[in-house]
């Protein structure tokens, strides 16, 4: 009788377990389109057997809950790639705006065409050299100088505005980071209390969704702790979450720029290289825009000081030469390289003050105008041993290369994120056959792409090597 009871008990237990499993599957179906939801599978536990007269009888199975199908290694890899993609994405947006400033045809260009301005300015001395007493040619020199100064100064102001706007965007990230770290700490607490030894299902889904969102904002490292807890640091090691406790990030202004802190520690430089949107904003602010501004300062300083120095030593149309008390400067004389671009302006108002003649000539001489025209072709240490035009061309070209480089990076990182997301999606209903098929697809794609790359590379090399035919076997 006892045996029949046992059999009935096993059957009813099996039915209960099946019902629980069906509930879990229903839950999976209901959440099929829920962002961040991870599929759950039922856990089966075999019941203890009973032994009757030396023979063991099984007692069936019990459904003991559900485990989410998640792969933490893969998810963490996705988060890392997401950090890189977000950083290059936000940097690229800033670089595109920056590049537009120096693109003459661009509607947002505030710099006019500095390259042409430089050429026109020095060329204006060529005409004056031929006719040093011509007031219209003298006026043309001042006019070309004004255009050049206004364009360089305008570009510098636009860079300063862009920097300030990036600074504000970066500061805005702080509150989002804090909201996420607070939420992660709360979820940690719940997970550690309710599921210290097993997967916490939807709670872990929520925590993972927050971590993914945090990864898009800043570069982070995750450290799994006891009882299913988690600590999160920035990539430079500043602690943001320690199990159930979160550490707020704050910001403040230092030398006109937003800096970021955890406690009293300044973590700005670590955040810059760490990744995430914030990393991208800070790299654009501290490297790209600061670098562009520095190059413009160098250019403005080089042009202003060299032209002013020559004009100050020559003889103007009224027979005067520059003195310490009343120097004959065309441009506002910079006192330091920093700030030269933004402060560049034409201070000379009387065209007769242009010193076309050298100190050994009369007022009708033109040697000094020739010397000033020759500045266009002379290299200087202030401009890294380049002429002004070459220096500006190198700067624009370097900016273009940086944009192109970051664009490539972003495309590759975004592709990597897409691939990993595909892998995670295909593994969510994990069984070894599906996993093998997914891996095979990845391997097959990689091999085919390698083949395409090798062949294209050879074809292009062969085409560029005109006259020398090489074929790929």
């Amino acid at each position: 009788m006892g045996t029949i009871n046992s059999a009935l008990s096993i059957m009813s237990g099996a039915l209960d377990a099946d019902q629980e499993a069906l509930n879990i599957i229903s839950n999976n179906v209901a959440n099929a389109n829920t962002t961040g939801y991870t599929e759950e599978v039922p856990n089966w536990q075999e019941n203890s057997s009973v032994t009757i007269n030396g023979v063991s009888y099984g007692q069936g199975v019990t459904e003991t809950g559900a485990t989410s199908v998640r792969d933490k290694v893969l998810t963490e890899r996705l988060d890392q790639q997401q950090q890189l993609a977000s950083a290059s994405g936000s940097r690229l947006t800033a670089l595109d705006t920056l590049q537009a400033l120096f693109t003459p045809a661009s509607s947002t260009s505030a710099s006019g065409d500095i390259g042409t301005d430089i050429t026109s300015f020095y060329d204006s001395f060529s005409k004056l050299e031929a006719e040093p007493t011509s007031s219209s040619y003298r006026q043309a020199v001042l006019s070309a100088a004004s255009t050049l100064a206004a364009d360089i100064s305008g570009a510098a102001s636009s860079l300063a505005s862009q920097k300030s706007s990036l600074d504000q965007e970066a500061a805005g990230v702080t509150s989002q980071v804090n909201a996420l770290t607070t939420s992660i700490a709360q979820l940690n607490q719940q997970i550690m209390t309710t599921s210290p030894d097993s997967d916490a299902g939807t709670l872990e889904d929520q925590r993972q969704a927050d971590i993914t969102a945090l990864s898009k904002l800043v570069g982070i490292n995750q450290i799994t702790t006891e009882n299913n807890g988690l600590s999160i640091t920035t990539t430079s090691g500043a602690l943001l979450v320690s199990e159930g406790q979160s550490f707020q990030m704050t910001n403040g202004t230092e030398s006109g720029e937003t800096h970021f802190y955890v406690g009293t520690t300044d973590i700005t430089s670590g955040l810059t290289t760490g990744g995430g949107e914030l990393g991208g904003y800070l790299t654009a602010r501290d490297t790209d825009i600061t670098g562009a501004l520095s190059s413009l300062d160098q250019l403005a300083y080089g042009i202003s000081t060299s032209v002013n120095a020559l004009n100050n030593t020559g003889i103007d149309a009224d027979g005067n030469t520059g003195t310490a008390a009343s120097p004959l400067y065309i441009f506002n004389e910079p006192t330091a390289v920093a700030g030269s671009a933004e402060n560049m302006s034409v201070v000379m108002t009387d065209p007769n003050e242009i010193a076309a003649a050298s100190s050994t000539e009369g007022t009708g001489g033109s040697s000094n105008a020739t010397a000033m025209y020759d500045l266009a072709k002379s290299t200087s240490a202030e401009l890294n041993g380049q002429t002004p035009s070459d220096y500006y061309s190198s700067f624009v070209s370097a900016l273009g290369s940086t944009v192109s480089e970051v664009e490539s990076e972003n495309t590759a990182q975004t592709a990597s994120v897409t691939q990993l997301q595909t892998q995670i999606d295909s593994l969510s209903g994990v069984n070894l056959n599906d996993e093998a098929a997914s891996l095979t697809s990845l391997e097959r794609s990689y091999q085919a792409a390698s083949k395409v790359f090798t062949m294209l590379d050879s074809i292009m090399a062969s085409a560029l090597n005109l006259g020398e035919q090489t074929t790929v076997s």
């Binding site: 009757i52 490539s408 391997e443 794609s445 792409a449």
Partner: protein, 116 residues
């Protein structure tokens, strides 16, 4: 099939390169294998191409250089992802292999004097 001396009629190299990057990002193996076949055909035709065709292809090649750099980077990222997936596969395999040892222990067999 393109005849020798015929003007360049292939799709632009740049299209092939960008399409390869896109397909690799989406892990579209079939499309990539088709592209590999297109490259083989292109390579065959190149061997018999005249000067004008070669000059056109050289110009296209110069234009496609930056897109090739992108493809190289996507390929590099894919290789890294593939490494991660292979490592994971090994780990999973290892876990399954030793799974029996990690399973909860069975309760000890009882003596023959149990009652039911």
């Amino acid at each position: 099939m393109q005849e020798p001396g015929e003007r360049w009629k292939h799709p632009l190299l740049i299209t092939l390169v960008t399409e390869a990057s896109r397909s690799l990002a989406c892990l579209d193996a079939e499309r990539l294998e088709e592209l590999a076949l297109s490259c083989q055909a292109l390579n065959r035709d190149l061997a018999r191409a005249d000067g004008e065709t070669r000059a056109a292809l050289a110009a296209e090649s110069r234009e496609a250089t930056s897109d090739m750099a992108v493809l190289a980077r996507v390929l590099e990222a894919t290789r890294a992802n593939l490494n991660v997936m292979n490592r994971l596969r090994e780990l999973r395999g290892g876990r399954l292999e030793y799974g029996a040892q990690q399973a909860p222990e069975w309760p000890p067999m009882e003596s023959g004097h149990g009652n039911n």
